[in-house]
Every structure is written in structure tokens, then in C-alpha cells.
């Protein structure tokens, strides 16, 4: 039986196991939406802005591990997706974004709502496709999903002209695809793995440095097994948080610009650094020349371009990090002393780290008169479900969440790390809640970032997504203000929000519940009430306005040059 292109697209999504999509209709996807009208196997969620739709699909993908799918119309709809796509690209999130396009005969004519979205998204997608013939559609969709989820994952755009949605052909979905230019390495080289384990076992001061790759590869359990087996302390990047439980005695927490004193000291003094699914971002390394100066570096990554991009590497291993970790554990059992002996050998190193932990633990100065943002984060942890999912926006609150929440499970923190996209948090939480209707999902944001996508309150309420919104309101663009305080002589240029917004009324206008805490003793009450209230709740906390995120390594300085909390 012949089907039209629009129907074929939906059949492809169904066969890829897609059950939820986020999309916004328009002239060049109206045919697709007409098919969707009677296609009941896929839940469609209508955001209030295409950017938020893509962030929602991204949040859905980060939380569930499945490929996120978003739809936008041509022209402005498609250009509105760019920030969402670039966000997913920087954090290697598997997504397929379908954009409408003007009819093939009009492409290049500056037609109404035409944009060269293939050209525009080329540098921020893993790959993109323009479908010129309905006969190619099924194969292209198969390729798009295959590329998005394999190797180093990433977003793929499929641009679908209106006439291709209307044209008919026989539908046949290929079982598999062969792309001759795309053969990601899965298995790590056994010799390299053996060498790495040997090098690690010789080390007196090893540190494991974990990035988002461990979470993307679903390798958290394997990471914990290797770290425990060898007795090695673990520090994580923002993207890696949750891969190693932070309540473990060998957890060092975050490293880098706002990392813990002891993580940065450990990295600066280690003799072997084992980087796993991490990419040595400048926010992590600080000044490259003095990064891990005494260490031999082992780097495990699925993407060969990540290796030796920013730092010298002594022992590269290209492969799926889960595969490599499984093999490392096996080799360790074959050649090494047992776990107890490994731990005993590293006891002096652990003792040195414990000294650093005692000297400068993660802390902040509590106050009785004003709510400290860090305190709110700690109380959120204490009063939420153990498997709660936390999305963040970008800025100070994001760093406080990373420092003080204490993540213990993968895929429970959803945060825009690479691109640092303000406005990400609320729609990402919405996507995660759509993926896990029964789990507690909260978003921590600042008053600035919240306002970048606050229209999504409508989507949340309309779709009964039970998101709990936490706003740490300091009435500042806090992170920029902090830099202005430290490096620009307190010249607060355009960082004060000035207009006080009544967030409770705002929530109520959309049909959500609004709560507010202005005093320390109200914090627990508001959190408890917020979590106990059915449906979306906005909890506003008026926090200390000029609180800083500390420790802080100034941009371009060495990791040992930290400004510490007094």
C-alpha cells in the first residue's frame, strides 16, 4: 500500500520506538500534523516556542536515554530550534529534529518562510539530511536515528519539504543501514587497555576524572566497579555528576572552575589521571600548561577527535566507555593484586586527600536572617525522593546545585554544560517529566533564566506535567554579577533585574500553584508543601542577593589558584 510522506515519517518514528514528540505546527508541516491528528500511537506535546520544544526533547533524551524527537515548521520555526540543537550538540545528546521545508520546486527562491536550515545547522549537528524524494525518506530516517544514537551521540536534522510529505510511495522500513563513511569504534583496543591497567596499578596517586560520556554510555555501574576494584578516588565534571555516587568516601565531587578544593588539589598532584568520557573543557582544566602537571594521562573516549585536542595524552583508548571499563575490570582481576591490596597501596594517597578535605570542605556561611541559596539546594535534596530528577538552568544556581545537591544516580541531573544555555531548565524538566510521569521532577533556576522560557508554564499546566519549579531569586543575573564583583570593580552593568516580578501571581495566571519563602524558617515548609501539592508548583526563594559561587578558579588560572569560601 502506498503511503504519503507525512504518514511514512510517523511510521518510521513508531518503528524507532518513539512514543513522545515535541513540536510546533506551521505551513510546511501542516500535512504532517494532519496525519498526526489520527495517529494515536505517538503523544505530541505542543510547547509555546520551538526552542523550548527542542530543549524538552533534549531533557527527555537525557533523562530516559532514548532519542528525543522535535518538530518545527520551516523558516522561523526552524531557526528557533538552533539554540536547542546547539545545546544538544555540545553535550552529545541523541536527538532527531524534523523541520518542514518549502516545496522542493521553491527551494532557493526566497519563498515565504524559507530558510536554508541544512546550511544553518551544519556546524551544530552531528549530521543533517534534506529529503528530496519521498522514496528516500524511510532510509534517511533509519540513518538519522542510527547516527543520532551510536558512537558519540548527537542531534540530527531531517529537513522535509512540503511536497515530499504529500507525495506517495510504498513504505518499507529497512532493518538496518550501512553508511560507509560512518563506522564508530566500539571495542577498545585490548593491548591499550592492558597497558592502561598496568600503568594505573603502578600509580601511587591515581585519580579518575569522569565526564558525561560515562552517563551517555550507561556505564555508571561499570565505572563504580572499576573505581572500587582499584580503590581510586573519582572526580566528575558537571556532565558526569551522578555517574559516581557523591556520598561515597572516594567521591571528590566536581573539579574545575567551581570544583571542590580537594578535587582540584588531587588532580594537580596525581601521578596518573584516568579521563573517561570527558573532553578536557577549559572550564575543567583552567590553565592548560599547569593542568595535572605530574600526571601521565590515560584517556578513554568514543570520539577520537576528543583525544589530544586540548591536552597531551600518554595512553589513548578509543572505544565505547562501557566496553572499555568492563575489559579494564577483567584485566585488573587477571593481572593485579586483589581489591584489598589495591586499596592498601593507595592508603597514603587517600590520607593526603582526606587532609585536603578536612582543610577546605565544601561549605558556605549559613545565615539566620537571609536564605542562603546553597541551603535551599541541601534542603531540596533532603526533602525530595531519592530518584528525583533535577534539571537546572545556567548560572550560579546551576553551580550550587552541582556542588551541594549530592547526586547519586546517573541521569538525575539535566544541565546544559557545553553551551551553557540559559532558558534550558524549565523545558528540559518538562521533557523529563513527559518521559517519567511518575517520578519527581524539579527544575532549579535563577530568576533570569526562568524568564527566558517561562511561557512553558502553559505547556506544563496544559499537559498536566507535574514539574516542581524552584526559583532562587536574587534579582540579579548572578553569575555575571559575580564576575563583575570580582574582576570589574563591582560595576554591575545590566545585571540587576530591577523589576520585581510577582512570581506567585505569574504561576497562578497559568493555572499553576505559586509558593514563596522569604525567611530561612520558611524554606522547609515551602519545599514540603510544593512536593506535596498535586500538579505544577512554582516555589520562589528570595535568596541572599550577592552570594558568590565558591571555590572559584579565575578563567585562565591554574586549578591550584582557587578563591575559597572564607
Amino acid at each position: 500500500m502506498k503511503l504519503n510522506g507525512a504518514r511514512i515519517l510517523l511510521e518510521c518514528l513508531k518503528r524507532e520506538g518513539v512514543d513522545t514528540i515535541f513540536g510546533y505546527p506551521g505551513g510546511t508541516v501542516i500535512n504532517l500534523y494532519d496525519e498526526l491528528f489520527s495517529f494515536k500511537e505517538i503523544r505530541h506535546i505542543l510547547p509555546r516556542h520551538e526552542q523550548a520544544g527542542v530543549h524538552a526533547a533534549d531533557g527527555y533524551a537525557r533523562a530516559t536515554g532514548k532519542v528525543g524527537v522535535a518538530i518545527a515548521t520551516s523558516g522561523p520555526g526552524a531557526t528557533n530550534t538552533i539554540t536547542g540543537i546547539a545545546t544538544a550538540y555540545m553535550d552529545s545528546i541523541p536527538m532527531v529534529i524534523i523541520t518542514g521545508q518549502v516545496p522542493t520546486a521553491l527551494i532557493g527562491n526566497d519563498a515565504f518562510q524559507e530558510a536554508d536550515i541544512i546550511g544553518i545547522t551544519r556546524p551544530c549537528t552531528k549530521h543533517n539530511f534534506l529529503v528530496k524524494d519521498v522514496k528516500d525518506l524511510a532510509t534517511i530516517m533509519k540513518k538519522a536515528f542510527y547516527i543520532a544514537r551510536t558512537g558519540r551521540p548527537g542531534p540530527v536534522v531531517v529537513d522535509l519539504p512540503k511536497d515530499v510529505q504529500i507525495a506517495q510511495t510504498e513504505f518499507h522500513y529497512p532493518e538496518s543501514v550501512e553508511i560507509r563513511g560512518y563506522k564508530p569504534t566500539v571495542e577498545g583496543h585490548p593491548k591499550q587497555i592492558e597497558k592502561a591497567v598496568g600503568m594505573i596499578m603502578q600509580a601511587k596517586k591515581p585519580v579518575i576524572y569522569v565526564g558525561g560520556g560515562v552517563i551517555l554510555a550507561n556505564a555508571a555501574a561499570e565505572l563504580v566497579a572499576v573505581a572500587k576494584r582499584l580503590g581510586i578516588p573519582v572526580t566528575t565534571t558537571l556532565m558526569g555528576l551522578g555517574a559516581y555516587p557523591e556520598n561515597d568516601p572516594n567521591a571528590l565531587g566536581l573539579l574545575g572552575m567551581h570544583g571542590t578544593y580537594y578535587a582540584n588539589m588531587a588532580v594537580s598532584h596525581c601521578d596518573v589521571l584516568i579521563a573517561i568520557g570527558a573532553r578536557f573543557d577549559d572550564r575543567v582544566t583552567g590553565k592548560i600548561a599547569s593542568f595535572a602537571p605530574h600526571a601521565k594521562i590515560v584517556h578513554v573516549d568514543v570520539d577520537p577527535t576528543s583525544i589530544k585536542k586540548n591536552v597531551r595524552v600518554d595512553l589513548p583508548i578509543v572505544g565505547d566507555v562501557r566496553d572499555v571499563l568492563v575489559k579494564m575490570l577483567k584485566v585488573a582481576d587477571e593481572i593485579g593484586p586483589d581489591a584489598k591490596a589495591c586499596q592498601a597501596a593507595l592508603a597514603p594517597w587517600i590520607a593526603e586527600i582526606d587532609e585536603w578535605k578536612k582543610k577546605h570542605p565544601m561549605t558556605y556561611k549559613q545565615s539566620a536572617s537571609v536564605i542562603k541559596p546553597q541551603y535551599v539546594i541541601q534542603r531540596l535534596r533532603a526533602l525530595s525522593d531519592p530518584d528525583a530528577i533535577v534539571a537546572t538552568d545556567v548560572g550560579q544556581h546551576q553551580m550550587w546545585t552541582a556542588q551541594f545537591f549530592g547526586f547519586t544516580a546517573p541521569r538525575t541531573l539535566l544541565s546544559s554544560g557545553g553551551l551553557g544555555t540559559m532558558g534550558f531548565g524549565l523545558p528540559a524538566a518538562m521533557g523529563a517529566q513527559a518521559g517519567f510521569p511518575e517520578r519527581q521532577v524539579m527544575v532549579v533556576c535563577g530568576d533570569g533564566g526562568f524568564q527566558m522560557n517561562m511561557q512553558e508554564l502553559a505547556t506544563i499546566v496544559q499537559n498536566r506535567l507535574n514539574v516542581k519549579i524552584v526559583i532562587l531569586n536574587n534579582n540579579f543575573l548572578g553569575m555575571v554579577r559575580q564576575w563583575q564583583e570580582l574582576f570589574f570593580d563591582k560595576r554591575y552593568s545590566s545585571t540587576c533585574m530591577e523589576l520585581p516580578i510577582d512570581f506567585i501571581k505569574l504561576a497562578e495566571a497559568f493555572g499553576a500553584t505559586g509558593l514563596q519563602a522569604t525567611k530561612v524558617e520558611e524554606v522547609d515548609e515551602v519545599i514540603k508543601k510544593g512536593f506535596a501539592t498535586d500538579g505544577p508548583v512554582l516555589m520562589e526563594f528570595k535568596v541572599a542577593r550577592e552570594e558568590k559561587v565558591l571555590p572559584m578558579v579565575p578563567a585562565g588560572a591554574s586549578l591550584t589558584e582557587m578563591v575559597l569560601a572564607s
Partner: protein, 163 residues
């Protein structure tokens, strides 16, 4: 260091812009670039000349390999490769310089492909060093216009290099 890199790609629209976009987006240099289909019509071969230290060249080849439409990348070692480029040169040629232009053309086995009372247009092919040597000799005689293909490269020996 100068490197001549051959890139075998799918012969599809937009592929060249992916390659060029990669260079501009990541701040890599392109000295020259030439592209045409191969004996397999489904494939095109790009030859590009770039510069950089070992680490940059490694990144360039890795990043090229990462593009979905790129099938193979070879960074040719000069001793194992033959490089050729073609130039078309328009040179002023009046009175006594007319004979000199022809002498130089003869030495470099260039062909005269157009002639006027005031100029010669020459076609020369060869290794980039040879071609540029000829151009440098012509320059003082009044070099009016120069068009170059940029080098193409092929490996030495019987082994062919296919997709």
C-alpha cells in the same frame, strides 16, 4: 608544516561545504583545495593543502574522518606521493621579452595556448615547486594573470586507493 591531504567523499550536494565549514569553524588553514568525481561516480576526491604542527594536522585528519560523508582521509608523505598542479599564466610579451617568455616556457615544457601582439598565455603542469619556479621567472617580465588548480596528489607504486 605543509601537508597534502586527500579526502574521499560521497559525491553528494553539500559535502564540500561540510569540509570547508569544518576548516573555517575550527580555524584550520586551507592553502588550496581541488575537487572532482573519481572513476567511481558515487565518489568525489578532494585534495587539499594545509599547514599546521603535528597536533593540528592530527586534529584535521580526525575531524575530517568524523564527517559522515567522508569515507577516507590520507595525509600523504611527500616521499610516497606524486603531486601535480596546473597553472595558466598570462604574461606581457612585447619586443625583446617575447623571446625570453618563450625560452622560459620551453625550459619548463609549458605550452603557449593563446597569443596576442602584447601577450602570451602559457599552460604548465608539474610538481608545485617546478611550476612556482617558472612563475617566479616570468614575474619580472610582466605577469598579468595567474590561475592555478592547486595540487592533486596520487600515491606512488602499484597500489591504488579506492573507496
Amino acid at each position: 608544516m605543509r601537508h597534502t591531504i586527500a579526502v574521499l567523499v560521497e559525491n553528494e550536494f553539500g559535502v564540500l561545504s561540510r569540509v570547508v565549514g569544518l576548516f573555517s569553524g575550527r580555524g584550520f588553514n586551507i592553502d588550496s583545495l581541488t575537487v572532482a568525481p573519481t572513476n567511481d561516480e558515487a565518489l568525489s576526491r578532494i585534495t587539499l593543502v594545509t599547514r599546521g604542527d603535528e597536533q593540528i594536522i592530527e586534529q584535521i585528519t580526525k575531524q575530517l574522518n568524523k564527517l559522515i560523508d567522508v569515507i577516507k582521509v590520507i595525509d600523504f608523505e611527500p616521499e610516497n606521493a606524486i603531486e601535480r598542479e596546473m597553472v595558466l599564466v598570462k604574461v606581457s610579451a612585447e619586443d625583446q621579452s617575447r623571446a625570453e617568455v618563450l625560452r622560459i616556457a620551453d625550459i619548463f615544457r609549458a605550452k603557449v595556448i593563446d597569443v596576442t601582439p602584447k601577450s602570451y598565455t602559457l599552460e604548465a603542469t608539474g610538481a608545485p615547486a617546478k611550476v612556482s619556479a617558472m612563475v617566479e621567472l616570468l614575474r619580472p617580465l610582466g605577469l598579468k594573470e595567474l590561475v592555478s588548480t592547486g595540487p592533486v596528489v596520487i600515491g606512488r607504486g602499484a597500489k591504488a586507493w579506492k573507496g
